[in-house]
């Protein structure tokens, strides 16, 4: 039997917080398929992580020790990972949807010709013939809909967004194997690190005011900024606002931007495409202002103001 693999991302801060949610996703597959669940980690010092990676549902932990390797050396790490995956012949490989892991596994997918699906938010495993099919659910471009993807070969790599998933329980006593894959020399060498102090982050803000395409008209965005200043909130926006240079990239909320967890979130002129709403987590109170009564944002928000934002903002600024 092929087995399901969960990739444990290890950075210089230790085990990524994506790991336990990813194990929970993995267990949701093995509960149906009856396969083994294997945790796989790679890197310099990976061999020391046997205890830290124990988790409910994990049957086996494989640690690929590559002395001196940096996580950015994807040229050699991909080759080492591919050799393990080839040997173990995993059916499904779950990977966190981080920048680091997605580039690494894109290389693995190409090496091994494994179908790869990106940025899934949930999985649904069904029996199919002798085996199972793992339906991969992800937001679709441009609207408030989710699509179901399937991989039609016998191996798949799925990158998962883990923000919404209950983590698996840590602990257990799965057997640990440390391996030493032949990695070779990387063309990439790390020379140093330059720290950048990020300005006030919208990530931790208690109240966030989000501006969308509708705010690009007249002086609406000026008014939104004034309102945010008045209530001591952070200003953020949707992708079109960032693409057009109205807000810095770091302040773009959404699937491809920053995830926020405020207590209260105002949206002005935001249509509510799922790429945007995927960036709002933690069940805040959402108050949406949009002149289109059919805007998708109203099926996401708690409170709806169907009105032109300009006059509402004028009243808010009085």
């Amino acid at each position: 039997m092929a087995g399901v693999c969960v990739f444990a991302e290890i950075t210089n801060q230790g085990v990524s917080e994506t790991y336990l949610p990813l194990v929970a996703f993995g267990k949701s597959i093995t509960d149906v398929s009856g396969e083994n669940l294997t945790t796989l980690a790679i890197g310099d010092g990976a061999g020391d992580y046997g205890d830290k990676l124990q988790a409910e549902g994990v049957d086996e932990i494989i640690l690929a020790e590559v002395p001196g390797a940096s996580p950015v050396q994807t040229d050699i790490l991909a080759e080492a990972l591919a050799s393990v995956i080839r040997e173990k012949n995993f059916s499904t490989i779950l990977v966190p949807a981080t920048h680091l892991s997605r580039s690494l596994f894109a290389r693995v997918a190409m090496k091994e010709n494994i179908g790869m699906t990106a940025d899934c938010t949930s999985l649904r495993t069904e029996k199919s013939g002798d085996g199972v099919v793992v339906h991969q659910i992800k937001p679709s471009f441009g609207s408030q809909i989710m699509v179901r993807c399937d991989v039609i070969c016998n191996q798949e790599i799925i990158t998962m967004k883990t923000e919404d998933c209950e983590p698996a329980e840590a602990g257990g006593s799965a057997p640990v194997t440390v391996i030493h894959p032949d990695a070779g020399a990387s063309a990439i060498q790390v020379q140093g690190f330059e720290k950048i102090d990020t300005a006030d982050s919208i990530h931790d803000a208690e109240v966030v005011v989000c501006a969308g395409r509708g705010a690009m008209e007249d002086d609406n965005f000026e008014k939104i900024k004034a309102f945010a200043a008045k209530i001591d909130a952070s200003v953020a926006g949707s992708r079109p606002m960032a693409d057009n240079g109205w807000i810095p990239f770091e302040n773009q909320v959404g699937q491809s931007g920053t995830v926020i967890r405020p207590k209260v979130c105002f949206t002005f002129g935001i249509s509510g495409a799922i790429q945007f709403t995927e960036g709002i987590k933690g069940d805040p109170m959402v108050i949406a202002v949009n002149k289109d009564p059919h805007a998708a944002i109203f099926s996401f928000a708690d409170y709806a103001v169907v009105s032109d934002m300009s006059s509402v903002l004028d009243a808010l600024l009085k």
Binding site: A78, C149, Q189, Q191, F266, I274, V286, S299, V312
Partner: protein, 259 residues
């Protein structure tokens, strides 16, 4: 230095439609060059300015994609190439990378290949690293600055809290994130000149690829249906005069803050 830049022509409106196969209907969608591809183009131009050499720009897509290629020519690219064919359509990231790799290898050898970090429509971020794998190059994603020196490239890679400083052997593929530099957009004069350029087209018959590995036929990850989005509630409507609405919003703000 020989530089290649791969760009994608993407729909810029969020209100796009999908067909019965859940693929984007691209015909009606207003499209433009993928935003971070402009940052990739700018990074390439700065490298060319320092080191000399040429920039060839590639795009796989329908004929409309020539508009994005012409924008790159107007910014300072030396040559452009459209990769277009019915058999290329409907592919997944593996198929797209194979077509790009074959077209690029056919033109010659490059020292540096740039792509944007991800497209604004698909957003997988996979094509760059997959292309690097096929071109037998290392790749650095999230590259925000590049300088050549001592036969190597010194690359700044954006990570949490700062930039990693890397030295990389060439040839290499670099992916560039949105917003890391200020692209020098074309002037009216350069754009006009670029608009008159003949863009050569590389088609299915020009590339030595098995039809089973590209396009819809070769796609391994496919969309099989739609799912209801979670959290489909209906919001409580707030109405009244603007002042009444404002008063209610301040009430809600207090309530939400104290939750």
């Amino acid at each position: 230095m020989k530089i290649a830049v791969c760009v994608k022509h993407v729909p810029i409106s969020e209100n796009v439609e999908v067909d019965q196969n859940h693929r984007l209907i691209r015909d009606n969608a207003e499209s433009d060059i993928n935003p971070c591809d402009l940052n990739a183009m700018e990074t390439a131009l700065r490298l060319k300015q320092e080191e000399g050499g040429t920039i060839d720009v590639y795009s796989m897509g329908p004929e409309d994609a020539t508009a994005s290629l012409k924008k790159c020519l107007a910014m300072g690219a030396d040559q452009a190439c459209l990769i277009s064919g019915r058999k290329f359509a409907g592919g997944d990231t593996l198929g797209t990378a194979r077509v790009l790799a074959e077209a690029i290898q056919k033109q010659g050898e490059y020292d540096v290949v740039f792509t944007g970090s991800e497209s604004s429509d698909g957003g997988t971020g996979q094509v760059g690293p997959m292309l690097a794998e096929l071109l037998h190059m290392p790749d650095v994603s999230e590259t925000v600055e590049v300088k050549a020196g001592n036969g190597l490239l010194n690359v700044k890679k954006r990570v949490d809290g700062g930039n990693l400083l890397l030295s990389v052997k060439m040839p290499v593929l670099l992916t560039v994130p949105f917003g890391c530099n200020e692209p020098t957009l074309p002037t009216l004069r350069t754009q006009r000149k670029a608009n008159r350029a003949e863009i050569p087209v590389v088609g299915e018959d020009d590339l030595d690829l098995s039809a089973e590995t590209i396009g819809e036929k070769g796609a391994l990850s496919i969309v099989t249906g739609l799912e209801a989005a979670s959290g489909g509630n209906s919001a409580e409507k707030i109405s009244g005069s603007d002042d009444e609405i404002a008063a209610k919003l301040y009430e809600l703000l207090e309530e939400g803050r104290n939750r």
